[in-house]
């Protein structure tokens, strides 16, 4: 079995990883299958505004009288898709930049890391809101901005890991054999850095979920009347005493997703570090 296969197998044996995966799968199922089983059109008015559970609206109606359960079941796809896309893009770009900086050094290293410093100086939420405020609430733009907010942190980790790997003799051997920098990055350094990047992916996914949900809550994400967990919390928070479900459901869903991802990430990092693996003689 390959080294990474063993990391994953070791992680899969951990209780926390199993629990985390179960939580993640639960939320993903709700988001993916939800729209298909929703009892009502999420935009249809079915009951008096902010009314409690009644026949026809199992969990009551929101501030405008739309079915809470249907809106909850339909509101997860966007946040999940956007978070995952933003994380993939951010980790990809950050890893590429960080590894390039580590291997090439010199001015490339300076350029990448000083750019990262500038981006790191701006709080992530502010960075995303600035961009959205300037260019308008486009979903692709939010994905891009969240990716940009993630990338410098990933670049730091990737550079540190790659620097350590680039010191090892097998990278020297590849240099002596005349391999190109690109091939050294992709074939020598990246495979050994993958464990660290996998853990980083989990961390960044948690942050992305929170960021995308916040942007939605602040009204810069999906626009009404679309159903979205972040937006739902915002629309219904004033009526929370009369109709708690329309706030509690999306909050719980985002919370469970975040905790699940965190548990998996924690397990992965333990497995990668060999903490819970029996030592060798």
């Amino acid at each position: 079995m390959s080294g990474r296969g063993r990391t994953l197998a070791a992680a899969a044996r951990l209780g926390r990883v199993r629990l985390g995966l179960a939580l993640v799968v639960l939320v993903v199922l709700v988001a993916v299958v939800g729209p298909l089983v929703a009892p009502h059109d999420p935009d249809a008015f079915v009951a008096p505004p902010s009314s409690g559970p009644a026949s026809g609206a199992a969990l009551g109606a929101d501030v405008l009288g739309r079915d809470v359960l249907s809106r909850f079941l339909s509101g997860g796809r966007a946040i999940l898709a956007m978070s995952v896309l933003a994380t993939v893009a951010g980790v990809g770009a950050g890893a590429a930049a960080g590894i390039a900086a580590a291997i090439r050094g010199g001015w490339i290293d300076e350029l990448v890391m000083r750019t990262a410093d500038v981006l790191l100086a701006i709080p992530q939420v502010v960075l995303v809101l600035l961009g959205v405020a300037a260019l308008g609430p486009q979903l692709w733009l939010i994905v891009l901005l969240v990716a940009l907010a993630n990338a410098p942190r990933v670049a730091r980790v990737a550079r540190g890991t790659a620097l350590e790997i680039a010191q090892r003799d097998f990278v020297r051997a590849a240099e002596a054999a005349g391999e190109s920098s690109l091939r050294i990055a992709t074939h020598e350094v990246l495979p050994s850095a993958a464990d660290a990047l996998l853990v980083e992916f989990g961390l960044r996914l948690t942050v992305s979920i929170a960021l995308v949900a916040s942007v939605g809550f602040l009204g810069f994400g999906l626009q009404p009347p679309a159903s979205d967990w972040g937006l739902m919390i915002n629309e219904n928070r004033l009526a929370i005493t009369a109709q708690p479900w329309s706030v509690v459901l999306p909050v719980v869903a985002v919370g469970v997703l975040t905790v699940g991802v965190n548990l998996v990430t924690d397990g992965l990092s333990r497995a990668a570090a060999g903490l819970d693996r029996a030592g060798r003689a």
Partner: protein, 571 residues
């Protein structure tokens, strides 16, 4: 001076430390790491625990400190220090025993000393932890302890940081920390492995002296039989967790009873045995205009496949290679010998194009090579191949053995894809590895097997020059002998010019035709191999030969007065 000669441990005395029937198991392995090991060490005695890697010697030594590695479990037995079983002590009492009654000197002082604290502080920490004494008294104890290990003990030295000391001094500080509270027992875990021979000789003398004067009982863990011959009174040989032979060092090393010990000694001797001249047959018949008379000492590059002239290399502001010239012919092995820090590895890396020299040229068949490998032509890169010191680091851990060798063929041969698998199998077979290894990852192979893979990878480029940087120093002695044998065969078979970088003179004797001795970056002597041993021309060469530990020579320990002075060559 209280003296009790450790070579005569027959004085009946209560053992300072005793291990009884110790068995330690590790989940996931089918046999115990340590299997029913019993031994006893009397005060003033040095007991050597010898074995190859994985034999359980460190695990046994750590048991004396009541330490068991994470995941491992004591199945049976006890480790008695001063009559108490340290393996059964609660953590609080165990802390009181460690450092006070039993202590440990680890292999690598560079990583065992705290780089952020001064030497004096680190010594004082251990003294203050165990002795309830005022500051002045503790400082006095620190000074006498440093004097015990033959280190300067003035205020300036106490204020130094570990990085301001040499490797040998760092190891002495580690020993000082271990003996500061006058423990009855000290476990030394290969304390001289990272040191060059001259420093090693001094550290060994210090340890012997400590045991003699303080009645210290020492457990000396080592893989090196020659070192053991110098330091120990009694020896126990471990194999796969079991003691296969024990006894006074002279009888075990000269009349071993167990077959394994005999094999170990044979391997050790064959590494140091002069190469028989008869094996040079093909060279004489070759067109290479090699002079048959003993080598003239002056560089004489005619017929050389690789030549280096005026090479200078720097690390930062330090000049580590200073105006070195050398040459090597086809079917010839030139050993480059020097202590650690002599610049020999940097020299090798300049030749391989891994380090940009500050001046000088490297020529291949008279054609100058570009300074860095990436600027050299494919042909030049292929013809000069480099084998790294540490086979645990030089193979990509995520790539199978087959792919590693195959990559060499992709880069340097014109073999079509469908024939490469067969060529890879041929190469692996040539370095005497079973065909099945192609599918394996490096971590599934032993050190010796990995080094063979590294050699196969170099052979894939069909080189003319093979630069071998201490390729056996990370290997067990029985493995060393077979890797050196393979290298010698390959050199003859492929008429390779071999540059063999090493600090180990014993190895030189079995592989090299000529020797180049480097010191402080300068080439100080070049001569035919046997001449270096029988008639060294310079003081440095004499010293290297004298300090090299050998099985057939008793403890070549310098008198304590000369610990810090240059050694006289002695027998």
């Amino acid at each position: 001076m209280r003296t009790r000669d450790p070579a005569v441990p027959a004085v009946p005395a209560v053992p300072a430390a005793e291990i009884r029937g110790l068995t330690i198991a590790q989940p996931g392995t089918d046999r115990p790491v340590v299997d029913d090991v019993s031994l006893a060490i009397r005060p003033g005695e040095v007991l050597a625990l010898v074995g190859e890697s994985g034999s359980g010697k460190t695990t046994t030594a750590l048991a004396l400190l009541g330490h068991v590695r994470r995941g491992a479990r004591v199945v049976a037995g006890s480790a008695l220090v001063g009559g108490r079983d340290v393996l059964a002590l609660p953590p609080r009492e165990l802390r009181a025993v460690r450092g006070r009654a039993v202590s440990y000197v680890p292999q690598d002082p560079a990583s065992s000393l705290n780089p952020a604290l001064r030497i004096g502080t680190q010594l004082d920490q251990v003294i203050a932890a165990h002795l309830d004494a005022p500051r002045d008294e503790r400082r006095e104890r620190a000074r006498t302890t440093l004097a015990d290990v033959a280190l300067p003990h003035d205020r300036a030295f106490l204020r130094r940081f570990p990085h301001q000391l040499s490797g040998g001094q760092q190891q002495r500080v580690a020993i000082a920390i271990a003996v500061a509270c006058r423990p009855a027992v000290v476990a030394f875990d290969e304390p001289t492995t990272g040191l060059d021979v001259t420093t090693q000789a001094h550290v060994l003398a210090t340890i012997r002296e400590l045991c003699r004067t303080h009645g210290l009982a020492a457990l000396y863990v080592s893989h090196d039989l020659a070192v053991v011959a110098q330091i120990a009174g009694t020896v126990a040989v471990l194999r796969e967790g079991r003691i296969v032979e024990r006894g006074p060092v002279a009888s075990v090393l000269h009349e071993p009873e167990h077959a394994y010990v005999r094999a170990l000694l044979d391997a050790h001797r064959s590494v140091g045995r002069p190469r028989s001249r008869g094996t040079r047959g093909p060279a004489e018949a070759s067109p290479a205009p090699a002079p048959s008379a003993p080598e003239p000492p002056a560089p004489e590059p005619s017929g050389a496949v690789l030549a280096v002239t005026g090479l200078v290399a720097v690390h930062g502001r330090a000049t580590v290679v200073d105006d070195v010239a050398l040459h090597v012919r086809r079917d010839e092995c030139l050993a480059i010998v020097g202590e650690s820090g002599s610049g020999k590895t940097t020299l090798a890396r300049c030749i391989a194009g891994l380090h940009r020299p500050a001046a000088g040229t490297v020529t291949l068949d008279g054609v100058p090579l570009a300074p860095l490998a990436r600027d050299r032509s494919r042909e030049h890169r292929g013809r000069v191949q480099y084998v790294f010191q540490n086979p645990y680091a030089s193979l990509n851990p995520r790539r199978t053995i087959g792919d590693t060798v195959d990559r060499g063929l992709v880069l340097f041969s014109d073999e079509p894809r469908r024939r490469r698998a067969a060529r890879t199998a041929d190469l692996l077979a040539r370095v005497e590895l079973p065909a099945g290894v192609a599918e394996r990852l490096p971590e599934e192979l032993s050190g010796g097997e990995r080094q063979r893979v590294a050699i196969a990878r170099a052979l894939a480029a069909d080189p003319d020059v093979l630069v071998c940087d201490e390729i056996t120093s990370a290997l067990d002695v029985s493995v060393q002998a077979s890797v050196l044998g393979l290298l010698d065969e390959l050199r003859r078979e492929r008429r390779l010019a071999v540059l063999f970088i090493t600090h180990d003179l014993a190895v030189v004797r079995s592989v090299a035709d000529r020797v180049l001795i480097v010191r402080h970056g300068r080439a100080i002597e070049t001569a035919a191999t046997e001449d270096v041993f029988t008639a060294p021309a310079t003081e440095d060469a004499r010293r290297l030969v004298a300090d090299s530990p050998r099985l057939d020579r008793g403890p070549a320990v310098p008198p304590p007065s000369s610990l810090l002075a240059p050694l006289q060559p002695n027998g």
